[in-house]
Subunit: 320 residues, 2 copies
């Protein structure tokens, strides 16, 4: 079966050209994959991509972080992210969508065109490197804000499913983000969710996880409400950037040439920019939500994850 990946060229902070270069990398590295590109026709057709391996989903408009995603929905001009998601819902060959645009718009579009089950809201997971050398699936990372305990239980199931598929884990360990490891710790939502997860069938619940242990490898799936999950994701990234910057500064002021080598190593090990693409769960087709600042390599890595899931391979080899 032909595999097609849809890439939304608009909405990225780096501009459509960087997304287009990402598409070029995908075509170069995966000879059995085709792409459908949502964006301005002239730009796409002028890029010199290999004939017969791409098609154009013409759209000149995007949704910025200052726009209201719902209003954009009723725009007369075609919006690239909606065009991409609508097409994904229609074509059997499509294995997934990649976008670096506004999360709210992606979310609204996914609900409209790709919802697997009308009773549940989608969520966005991130696969993050942990200090055991493995990966932890953080869900939700900021798409589902102000949700209730039943939704968090749902996140636990979807995160477990993803980790089963991606890493062939038989029974992924599920942790619940809290402000203390003890079962009595937590806000109202966490306490209620804890009680539900403890008795939920099909979930290997290992208890509460404290904020300083999120990436310690104590669990394979870390469940949290979107606002808190967003803090974990962005804080971990911000702190990694802070420390790496300090190392580089130290190297300069102390004439320590090894600082650059060590900073480089950490950047490859904790490369949130290329690893941190979000994976939307609960949709009929996989949707990869890349950061607004994502590079061409991040587009390629997102395609690799889509392809591995479609091919039913683990992603250990490709990311390690």
């Amino acid at each position: 079966m032909k595999h097609e990946i849809i890439i939304d060229l608009l909405g990225s902070d780096m501009g459509p050209q960087e997304m287009l270069e990402g598409a070029r990398l995908v075509l170069e590295e995966f000879p059995d994959v085709c792409v459908a590109l949502a964006g301005p026709r002239a730009l796409i057709e002028g890029a010199g991509l290999p004939e017969g391996r791409y098609r154009v989903l013409e759209a000149d408009k995007t949704v910025t972080n200052l726009d209201n995603p719902i209003e954009a929905f009723y725009s007369k001009e075609p919006v690239s992210v909606f065009k991409a998601l609508e097409e994904a819902g229609k074509c059997d060959d499509v294995i997934g969508v990649i976008s670096a645009g506004n999360t709210g718009a992606l979310f609204a579009g996914a609900i409209r065109f790709l919802l697997a089950d009308k009773t549940v809201r989608p969520c966005i997971a991130a696969i993050l490197p942990n200090s055991q050398g493995g990966f932890t699936c953080l869900v939700d990372t900021g798409a589902s804000i102000d949700c209730g305990p039943a939704q968090l239980v749902d996140f636990a199931h979807r995160g477990s499913d993803l980790m089963r598929k991606l890493y062939k884990l038989e029974s992924p360990r599920v942790g619940l983000l809290s402000n203390g490891a003890e079962p009595t710790k937590g806000n109202k939502l966490v306490k209620e969710t804890h009680a539900l997860l403890k008795v939920e069938e099909g979930i290997n619940f290992v208890g509460n996880i404290e904020g300083n242990k999120t990436l310690s490898g104590l669990c394979d799936v870390l469940v949290c409400e979107g606002f808190a999950g967003n803090q974990v994701l962005k804080n971990s990234e911000g702190m990694a950037v802070n420390l790496i910057t300090e190392i580089i500064k130290y190297g300069k002021t102390h004439q320590q040439p090894a600082a650059k080598e060590i900073a480089g190593y950490l950047m490859s090990r904790f490369d949130f920019a290329s690893l941190g693409a979000g994976i939307m769960l609960g949709t009929k087709k996989l949707v990869m939500k890349n950061r607004g600042s994502c590079s061409r390599v991040a587009v390629r890595n997102a395609a690799q994850i889509l392809k591995n899931i479609a091919d039913n391979k683990t992603i250990y080899e490709s990311i390690h």
Copy 2:
């Protein structure tokens, strides 16, 4: 005026001996300070502390993380943390209390014995190193969970007051933790608080701060609800530990001796264990909440902050 600091010896993960050694450091370094020690009489009297500079608040019982703090309140035996707080409320000479015990018990005791204003709940702030070389006051760090927008506005005032006192900042910049920098981003609580802070008198509100910018020095006071603040605090710490551990591992596997030097530098720069004591705000006397795992040096540093506030000095000199 005589300055006395009360130290709760029990409840720390490191045992009462480490807290006692902290008290010894305080007495050695600050000749004009006396201490009152809450704990077992035999232990305190056998420690060989300088005569006339300490007194005993006898108490053999503590509150563990598994106890219910409210039940402990009605215990027949004296509990060290309650004894410490009660004494602080009674004696004019006391400039503050230091404890590394259960936060819930400390909170309950502070409400009972030290509340400045019956209409507000206390909160716990942390002073964290930011990447501009300065400090950011994070408030609340986990004491006030599930609170409303009016409480967050209150945290903004108390954090601003503290930063005015500690660093002589005229108009501390107040940021609001959110899942995006735009004013439209946030959960319900953050959106409501944003609207209030924008028009609040006496608050220099600089807008929403994203999770990857918490310690970037964009604000002097970072306001958040306790659950989210706890994530920021512990995540930053956990991530710093992860990266430092990676550097040490790298040094060993790659025979790079400079790795140890760089790890040591980062440990001094991002030393959460000694810097990260929480400061309870909204009480008649200052209460320093140290980590359960706090070292004797952390006790000394907490005393330094109490002393500087009492002496009306900034803490720049002492922490830098």
